[in-house]
């Protein structure tokens, strides 16, 4: 019976990852909510909701990407990931020398991809909540062409103006939360911290 097997032999469970990720998420959400609140002049509750939604979205999409990529990696690189997950260290094989480069490039790519996901996520969320930055309600037919052009140009400028602080706020929020997470990771990887 598979259910009994699983209950008697749960094997190696990612409990530390779950606990640690919950902690990191809380830290990131609180920090980003503070930045969004200051930069975008949002309410306390609203900024918490926005920060929580985009962070959870980015995290879960990150997991999906990791699980998908891990399955198609070359075996040697996959073994290094296994080594890191299970034993918290890399081991000697053909990838050992290029690993620092791989890790740094992955981290930088993760930062920008996360930034893009968070920005897009915030735009989607605002659209979902019906708070569109640019009003797209059907407009009355305009007979004057120049008027329409003017309006379009004004809308574009307004759109940029409305867009820019948001992008900046998300960038700042992302930078702050990544810094905090990096610091926490470095702290935990010090031997002896938290008894690990």
């Amino acid at each position: 019976m598979p259910l009994n097997d699983v209950l008697s032999e749960p094997g190696i469970m990612p409990l530390r990852a779950v606990a640690f990720q919950s902690l990191l998420l809380m830290v990131a959400i609180v920090l980003e909510a503070m930045v969004l609140r200051q930069r975008l002049r949002l309410g306390y509750r609203i900024s918490m909701q926005y920060a929580a939604t985009v962070n959870l979205l980015a995290t879960s999409l990150g997991w999906v990407a990791f699980l998908a990529i891990e399955a198609v990696l070359p075996p040697d690189l996959r073994n290094q990931i296994i080594s890191y997950v299970l034993f918290n260290r890399f081991y000697e094989n053909s990838w050992r020398d290029v690993l620092p480069v791989v890790v740094v490039v992955t981290a930088i790519a993760a930062f920008f991809i996360t930034y893009w996901i968070k920005l897009q996520g915030l735009i989607w969320l605002l659209q979902l909540l019906g708070q569109k930055p640019i009003d797209t309600t059907p407009e009355a037919i305009e007979d004057n062409r120049r008027q329409r052009y003017d309006r379009a140009r004004r809308a574009q400028i307004e759109g940029q103006r409305g867009h820019s602080p948001r992008a900046l706020a998300v960038l700042q929020a992302n930078a702050i939360s990544f810094t905090a997470i990096l610091l926490l990771l470095l702290l935990v990887n010090q031997p002896g911290v938290m008894g690990w």
Binding site: P2, L3, V6, E9, P10, G11, I12, M13, P14, L15, R16, A17, V18, F20, Q49, A52, T53, L56, L57, T59, S60, L61, W63, V64, L67, E70, P75, N79, Q80, I82, S83, V85, L86, F87, N88, R89, Y91, E92, N93, L125, L128, L129, G130, Q131, V188, N189, W196
Partner: protein, 336 residues
């Protein structure tokens, strides 16, 4: 006593009897009735479709009824409304339970998403199956809940991915994971024996075929071509082991080194692990064997020449235990 019994019976009656037709008890009863009908249908050998339809109805009503009951009775441990999770769990057991085999994995991975659907569908679809647009507040809650359930689903998937690793590389489970920042093993579980032990046992059998119970001079000759024998032994071992664990097998390297010990030799057999390991320099398993010449005078014919009885035969005895050592056998030998 009688009063207590009557009170209990009244409570029980109140619990079982729906207060009105539109109540959770009604749904549970429909589920039970539908389940009984499906049993009946099976008994009178109705078509597969009828039985399936009745069973499906029964499961759906059970999920609805249990969720409703939990919600109606305000069962909220730690303030978390668990009704959608329980309903989603019942739906998942129903959807995947009939698969057999490894149904638990898809069921657990999909469970958070199904639970999200259980929450979302009532607020997105109205009673006449037309889409409706909920309040912005509800939409925000749903978006948050969807991301959360995707995260839970990913965690379950990560758990199963780790199990797949351990399935591919069984020796990982024999190592210590206490330094990991990701995983935790609940203490008290039986840990599997490292596959290196099997390698050493098989290698011992192969070695026995070569050097056990052979004339001593041929054994000495065999030992002259050490590197060739190593290659041969590795090839034979590989052809035997690669079926059981094809991914892990290349990470084990067999090695042995004889050293003189009195009249005979001490053979050290090593299974060197070159994969991920908890100790910084990896580890190896060691098996110690004694290869000794013994006189077999008894076998000599009666009228043999005097020199014949001194012909010596080889005898290989190996220890049962395979102690685990950190590092690499060649390096520790060089330094020690």
């Amino acid at each position: 006593m009688v009063g207590f019994l009557r009170q209990t019976l009244e409570d029980l009656g109140k619990l079982l009897k729906p207060p009105r037709y539109f109540a959770w008890q009604t749904v549970i009863y429909i589920s039970l009735f539908s389940w009984l009908m499906s049993l009946l249908a099976r008994a009178v050998s109705a078509t597969e479709f009828t039985v399936g339809l009745l069973a499906t109805l029964s499961w759906i009503c059970l999920a609805l009824g249990v969720g409703w009951a939990l919600e109606a009775n305000k069962v909220r441990p730690f303030g978390i409304p668990i009704a959608p999770w329980v309903s989603g769990g019942i739906v998942c057991i129903f959807l995947f339970g009939s698969w057999g085999g490894r149904w638990l994995q898809p069921a657990l991975v999909v469970w958070p998403l199904v639970s999200f659907a259980v929450v979302a569908v009532p607020s997105l679809v109205s009673w006449d199956f037309s889409l409706k647009k909920p309040q912005p507040f509800v939409r925000q809650q749903l978006a948050l809940l969807f991301c959360l359930s995707l995260l839970f689903s990913s965690w379950f998937q990560f758990y199963f991915r780790i199990q797949a690793w351990v399935h591919d590389y069984p020796s990982l489970a024999a190592d210590s994971v206490e330094h990991s920042a990701f995983v935790y093993r609940i203490p008290g579980q039986t840990t599997a024996l490292s596959a290196g032990v099997t390698h050493l046992t098989v290698a011992e059998d192969l070695l026995r075929e070569e050097v056990d119970n052979k004339p001593w001079p041929s054994v000495e000759r065999w030992l002259l071509n050490l590197e060739g024998q190593r290659q041969l032994l590795r090839q034979q071992l590989h052809s035997q082991m690669s079926e059981t664990s094809p991914l892990e097998d290349p990470l084990w390297q067999l090695d042995f080194q004889p050293s003189t010990n009195g009249d005979g030799y001490t053979l050290k057999l090593w299974a060197v692990w070159s994969g991920p390991a908890a100790s910084p320099n990896g580890y190896y398993l060691e098996k110690t064997c004694q290869l000794m010449p013994i006189s077999r005078a008894g076998l000599a014919p009666e009228n043999a020449s005097p020199g014949y009885s001194t012909t010596q035969w080889s005898n290989l005895t190996c220890d049962l235990e395979t102690p685990r050592q950190a590092g690499h056998p060649r390096e520790t030998q060089a330094s020690g």
